[in-house]
């Protein structure tokens, strides 16, 4: 294939996309939205933490009624609590705004909930009343047991598993992170760029530009140039999404970690569990290479499919309806993911792994979880590359025939028959 004018097509397509304000508005809206969400989460978490800190550092005036007998009057007094002589009256005082909070401890707090009557200080700030009740009971229990480790065992312990398989240390979920990213990347790529790929072959048709264009370049050059331009734009879009996230992660390492805590989480910042990004991520080169191969084959396959669909359809609107079917094929394996994970050798799993439209997602999922033999991963990638090549070949031929079929949908059969009957085509 002569590459005459490939650079011109690529430059025009990339330039006209990147110079559109709508592109930047759309692309930047996602990271901006993420920043806003993270900021809100950070703020709410900080509020919750500060309220807990405040609670621990300062006394919070409250009344309580204790049917269990577990509450230590000493601890309660230290925390600002006063035993209510009349629980009903104490609760009523709160309802009438004369007191802030009243705790009603049941006879068996392990079976019944502690009833809290408290002032509404906002959706987030009101979480402090739950923290107050838990703190009161934990500190009272701790005083009675006299051993903080025993209290810790009762309130929750962390575990760390060392898994082995076939005499080798199994990396577990930690090794699924990087190969799993390729699955996320595939979804993002097709969802964000799919419509543009679909329009690649429709736009010239809709605008009646095809004939003028085809006297200056080979149709394959036009398609390849436009596909490369979509990839380039996709990379820019990915950078727009990732760079702010990475920068935030690097410059404010506590921000994302802190943001993972909810209002009910009473752990202080220094006790937070490590953020996934900063946590232990094991690198399994074989799985990562397999994931990259399957991702590339899958992405090319979807690209070829969308280009072929666009070549048949007369307008972007017609082509858009076909996009839904492609998306359905991508999401189908997710609905059956549990079945695939539980029994990766079942007939359904094998079918989804080998059927080209469901293969990329299923194979990437199985590979990420260590459920795909290496030979099978390589074979699936080869099948995807072969299928992608066939689709691109078909797409170019359909484009040759369909690009000047301005008003009606192209018949694939007729197009291929016409293509076969023409020497040199």
């Amino acid at each position: 294939m002569k590459l005459h004018n490939l650079g011109t097509v690529l430059g025009f397509e990339v330039r006209r996309t990147l110079t559109k304000p709508s592109f930047w508005l759309t692309s930047l809206s996602i990271p901006l939205l993420m920043v806003v969400i993270f900021a809100l989460m950070f703020w709410s978490n900080s509020s919750a933490l500060s309220s807990v800190d405040t609670q621990r550092g300062e006394k919070q005036a409250f009344t309580y009624a204790d049917s269990s007998g577990l509450v230590s009057p000493t601890v309660a007094a230290e925390m600002g609590g006063t035993r209510a002589a009349d629980a009903t009256a104490a609760a009523q005082a709160v309802r009438e705004g004369r007191a802030e909070v009243h705790l009603d401890i049941p006879a068996d707090p392990t079976r019944e909930a502690v009833h809290i009557v408290a002032e509404d200080v906002g959706l987030i700030q009101s979480g402090q009343w739950h923290a107050l009740a838990r703190d009161l009971l934990e500190r009272s229990a701790s005083e009675r047991i006299g051993d903080s480790r025993l209290v810790g065992v009762l309130t929750g312990v962390s575990t760390d598993a060392e898994l082995w398989k076939d005499g080798h240390r199994s990396p577990g979920l930690a090794a699924a992170v990087v190969p799993g990213l390729f699955l996320v990347l595939l979804y993002m790529g097709v969802l964000m760029l799919g419509q543009q790929m679909l329009n690649i072959t429709v736009e010239e048709k809709e605008n009646r530009v095809t004939e003028m264009i085809l006297t200056t370049l080979d149709p394959r050059v036009l398609i390849v140039g436009k596909v490369l331009a979509v990839f380039a734009v996709g990379i820019v879009q990915a950078m727009v999404l990732l760079v702010p996230a990475v920068l935030v992660g690097v410059l404010f390492p506590g921000l994302l970690g802190a943001a993972t805590a909810g209002p009910g989480n009473t752990l202080p910042a220094d006790e937070m569990p490590p953020l996934a990004l900063g946590g232990e991520v094991l690198i399994d080169p074989v799985r990562i290479v397999l994931a990259a191969l399957i991702f590339t084959g899958g992405f090319l396959m979807f690209t070829g499919l969308l280009v072929a669909i666009g070549s048949i359809m007369p307008t972007a609107k017609d082509a858009g309806s076909a996009f839904g079917a492609v998306i359905l094929a991508m999401f189908l394996p997710l609905y059956t993911a549990t079945m695939v994970i539980n029994d990766p050798t079942s007939v359904v799993s094998e079918f989804l792994t080998w059927f080209p439209l469901t293969a990329p997602v299923t194979a990437l999922l199985r590979n990420a979880l260590g459920l795909l033999p290496v030979w099978q991963g390589v074979a699936v990638a080869l099948v995807l590359f072969a299928f992608a090549s066939a689709l691109v070949w078909l797409g170019v031929r359909l484009f040759r025939q369909g690009s000047i079929s301005y008003d009606k949908r192209l018949s694939i059969g007729k197009a291929l028959r016409a293509s076969r009957s023409r020497p040199g085509s």
């Binding site: 005459h4 085809l214 006297t215 028959r417």
Partner: protein
């Protein structure tokens, strides 16, 4: 390649779409510097022939050459093509689109942009370079379309139904631009239904009927082969019995008379005088291309099945 090498050559060209034969064994050539008319009713194979010449269709059989070789988009051509189905990237800026097409035709980006700006100023759209095409009126878009077609002064212009959909102003502009290109030595191929344009612009023509060449030659040759001529006559008296001629229009004192092959205008005039007809004016002309069209296709240009 010498100067006499045909700019276009078509030999035994056949085109089939499935079971349907659209063009059947067609052959013709276009010489350097001439204006060539490719004529025919709708569906006669004109556009198919041009598309095959430009490599958009691959022929079922035959040879189609441009400058002595099959058309290659990557070749060193200087081509301006205005297709019948035409348009531009409507959502893009005028200057960007024109520059892009200039680059595709082999111009440097900066030179294409400069050429485009000069052209826009020439046609009164100097301030529209940064406007999106979709914001331009239909007539303004047609001007841009014309600019894209004649970018970099091509030596070969192929115009498929060039005035189709054009308003009178742009039609005039188009004809002026074509005339300017022709005067500069360009070869022009026009596919048209407008027979007045054919008579005015074309040196030679090819009339296609059902995918075959029905008539081929200079305009005069084709006119002559479809009638010895036409006489417009103002007279007093009664016309004699037709011998070697027939009246196409006959009114009280006016007639349009078609001469049969082998009959010249002098013979008709002699018959009229001999019959005692007083001839007040006698205007002999060749058969018009419109009449030729009517004879071949049985309907007016632009009518008939697609």
């Amino acid at each position: 390649m010498s100067d006499t090498t045909p700019v276009m050559e078509v030999r035994d060209f056949t085109m089939e779409f499935g079971d349907k034969r659209v063009v059947d064994g067609l052959g013709f050539e276009v010489r350097p510097g001439e204006t060539f008319g490719l004529l025919g009713a709708n569906g006669s194979g004109k556009t198919t022939t041009v598309r095959a010449l430009l490599g958009i269709y691959t022929p079922t059989a035959g040879e189609l050459l441009v400058h002595g070789r099959p058309f290659d988009p990557a070749g060193d051509y200087s081509l301006g093509y205005l297709p019948e189905e035409r348009g531009l990237y409507r959502k893009e800026k005028v200057l960007d689109v024109m520059t892009y097409f200039g680059q595709l035709k082999g111009m440097e980006r900066s030179r294409a942009a400069l050429w485009s700006q000069h052209y826009l100023e020439r046609v009164g759209l100097g301030d529209k370079g940064n406007a999106k095409l979709t914001t331009l009126s239909g007539g303004q878009q047609q001007k841009v379309q014309l600019g894209v077609t004649i970018m970099d002064n091509p030596s070969l212009l192929i115009l498929d139904e060039p005035t189709k959909g054009f308003d009178p102003v742009n039609r005039r502009l188009l004809l002026d631009l074509v005339e300017a290109q022709r005067a500069a030595g360009a070869t022009v191929v026009i596919i048209t239904h407008q027979m007045d344009e054919v008579e005015r612009l074309c040196d030679r023509v090819l009339l296609l009927k059902d995918g075959r060449a029905e008539a081929y030659g200079t305009v005069a040759e084709v006119q002559d082969s479809y009638g010895a001529g036409l006489v417009r006559l103002h007279f007093t008296g009664t016309l004699p019995e037709p011998r070697g001629w027939r009246p196409l229009t006959l009114e009280r004192n006016y007639a349009e008379i078609e001469l049969a092959e082998g009959t010249d205008a002098q013979a008709l005039l002699r018959q009229l005088v001999d019959a005692g007809v007083t001839v007040r004016s006698f205007d002999a002309a060749r058969t018009s291309m419109e009449q030729v069209f009517l004879k071949i296709y049985g309907h007016q240009p632009g009518e008939g099945a697609a």
